[in-house]
Symmetry: C2
Subunit: 157 residues, 2 copies
DNA sequence: TGATACAGTACCATTTTAGTCCTATTAGAC
DNA sequence: GTCTAATAGGACTAAAATGGTACTGTATCA
């Protein structure tokens, strides 16, 4: 099945430790100890998250990292995009026209649609849900794979 | 974003060429020519598809491959599983208990649920839809990410 | 029995991933 | 000011996954 990278998993774990009940600021060292992930790696991940704007950093003494926005406003899709970059579901999807098979292949577009559908689904999964601290059964994101829809026939967006 | 492997894309292209209006049987060589994929690679993919039970093979003269079931009964999930194996979304998901971080990490389970949700979504996307030969806007799989649901609270399954 | 076509698998090259390390920069404390 | 705690940004390496090829064996049919 589809796979998220280890780094993305790390990122989630780290973010979860920053998503306390009120906003906390923690140093990379502290987070490394809390999570059990190697310091260097923790640091690397945090830098990526900061570049992507998911965490805010402060340098110098008493510095550290904190969530840039509330946990409820950070989605699984955000995390994945931050760590893994915006690579598409298929290779052809990202560089259209580059693929040799494109002539005999009517498949690319479809995968691409699956792609956005999944992405959209993941965008509805918030960090609060990933950490499990989100209380009772929440309003379920009514996600609909719109693969079948002809272009423009947006179904239940 | 999440990525399917090139091999999976190949598989889809190949399957698409087997999914004519009525069941066709084609040799690996023919499929390689039709699709533009290298013969060796085509062959490899076909073997995997046959092991997974998606295509049926006949050996010897006049042999070849054909779909093992109607295109409408083959899903994107089937294809991915066949080619990429049953690896989970996270590493921890597949070998529970193996992960060092498992103590400080309450994330694994959640990803796993995301995993099954996506898998379920992909199971509703049929080969007919991937090839685009499925006529008008089809009944949309009413897929629901059930991440928020507490265990047992199955939402709109 | 020979030709055709699949089955299995071992193999290699390339790319991607995971992880480390080093240097620069910023902020605060004394 | 300058020392120290912390992040920023890379370069770099080792290990694994991926994509692709080749070879050997086996089944089927004319
Ligand atoms: S394989 Fe590249 S466009 Fe379909
Ligand atoms: S990282 Fe392995 S269980 Fe969460």
């Amino acid at each position: 099945m589809l796979r998220i990278s280890k780094m993305t998993d790390y990122a989630t774990v780290i973010l979860a430790h920053l998503a306390g009940d009120e906003p906390v600021r923690r140093t990379a060292v502290a987070l490394a100890e809390l999570t059990g992930i190697g310091l260097a790696t923790t640091s690397k991940v945090l830098k990526e998250l900061q570049r992507a704007g998911l965490v805010a950093s402060t340098r110098g003494a008493h510095g550290g990292y904190a969530l840039a926005r509330p946990a409820a406003a950070i989605s699984a899709a955000d995390i994945i995009d931050a760590v893994e970059g915006p690579v598409g579901l298929t290779e052809c999807a990202t560089h259209p026209g580059q693929c040799d098979l494109e002539s005999s292949c009517r498949v690319g577009r479809s995968w691409q649609r699956v792609n956005v559908a999944i992405h959209r689904a993941l965008a509805d999964v918030k960090l609060t849900q990933l950490t499990g601290r989100d209380g009772a059964a929440m309003p379920v994101p009514d996600l609909t794979i719109l693969l079948g829809a002809r272009p423009g026939v947006r179904v239940r967006a």
